[in-house]
Subunit: 240 residues, 2 copies
């Protein structure tokens, strides 16, 4: 087989330029949706339903589904807990289906639905993800969530960390400047990712809301070997 | 006066998130529109009319305006010359008005029109531009042209070079991850910009079309002290 194409998309507002029905799209939202979803599956969650609207989350609650939902950093009154990965303990999530309220994340999953396969990527599952991607013989788009359509540093360095490994596998080629930039930024960040990410806007936002306790955890490689994959409109642990 | 906000926009498709009627927008299209426009003014051009469509360029030609126009690297049959900065010699352009055919550049200028002031930035006028920007007491958006809505490296390192100087002036603050990334990429590129830009997609495109003779020139600082500025729908040399 010939080499496959590898690209990085920095924002949902740019994704239409990356649409490819034969590709695998990796959704990267390091702070915090991708990391929370990986944590939930590692701790035994059965399925995750991404929901965009508060009312939709409330409806799931009435059906006995666990609900993780915040607005502006406050846990919603009807929710079981908030969006931090630290909330998804084995005690709470094992064997359960969880509605995860994430406006941006749900939007990304919808936008990416034209792809062949949609998976969730994070530092937390990077080795398992990269190993799997190199075996698929498919084009790959690393799709950074960003923030309000804007580029962000944390998703970009994660795309760079994944991109570096994929290029080193020899299975991919690229003519994508966003990939080169991601790999170069990762090369500056990799010595000490938490220090590098100090200047990121989302780092400041989470600190201001007292939600930054999970930063170092989210930047840690290989907490899990699970790759969350989209099946219809929900996320499952691949192969389970 | 308080510090002013400095941001970088990586693509026309993202600009609506940066709209600010009080800001100065710096349009950066290093390969080749920004560089060609700076060169034309340094060599005495009176005005430049950015045109999006071939037919519009043809119409200008019938009115006696000089026309610079290419499609896919071929000079159009009715045009006086192509889009390379090297075509804008003093002999050809002094005292003349030039219609410059650039689909992307014209689109950017239109998109940015909601701003207080729109200027053209390049390595070729970087010191004059940065000196002027630090004196304006206005928010600044460095607006990278990109390519077909995608991020590109050459415009980003130019934004980084400008951004680094503006931040060092002490007149600006930022919470923009795109600015941090641009400055970091510039820090990797600045030792040898032509070598860094070897991996850029547009570098390859220009080489494939034999249009890459101007690359080193476009990456050279301070060929001119002129800042091209938009007045109504045309570009003039600021202060002239």
């Amino acid at each position: 087989m010939g080499k496959k194409n590898l690209e990085v998309c920095f924002s949902p507002a740019l994704f239409r330029r990356f649409e490819n029905p034969e590709s695998i799209v990796v959704i990267i939202d390091v702070f915090r949706a991708s990391s929370a979803i990986c944590t939930a599956f590692e701790n035994g969650a059965e399925a995750i339903i991404p929901v965009a609207e508060v009312e939709e989350a409330r409806e799931h609650k009435t059906k006995g589904v666990l609900v993780a939902a915040e607005r502006d950093g406050n846990v919603l009154d009807f929710a079981d807990f908030g969006n931090s990965p630290f909330n998804f303990t084995r005690e709470k999530v094992e064997g359960r289906t969880i509605a995860y309220s994430t406006t941006n994340g749900t939007q990304l999953i919808n936008i990416a639905s034209s792809a062949h396969t949609v998976v969730i990527g994070a530092f937390l599952n990077i080795s398992a993800l990269c190993g799997w991607l190199t075996e698929q013989e498919r084009d790959v788009v690393l799709f950074c969530a960003g923030w309000k359509d804007k580029f962000n540093l944390e998703d970009t360095i994660c795309a760079g960390a994944i991109g570096e490994r994929l290029m080193e596998s020899g299975k991919f080629l690229t003519i994508c400047d966003s990939l080169h930039a991601s790999i170069d930024l990762w090369s500056m960040a990799k010595g000490d990712p938490p220090a590098y990410i100090e200047k990121a806007a989302q780092r400041s936002r989470l600190r201001a809301k007292g939600l930054d306790d999970c930063i170092e955890f989210c930047l840690q490689p290989d907490f899990t070997k699970i790759i969350p994959v989209k099946e219809n409109k929900i996320l499952k642990a691949m192969g389970k």
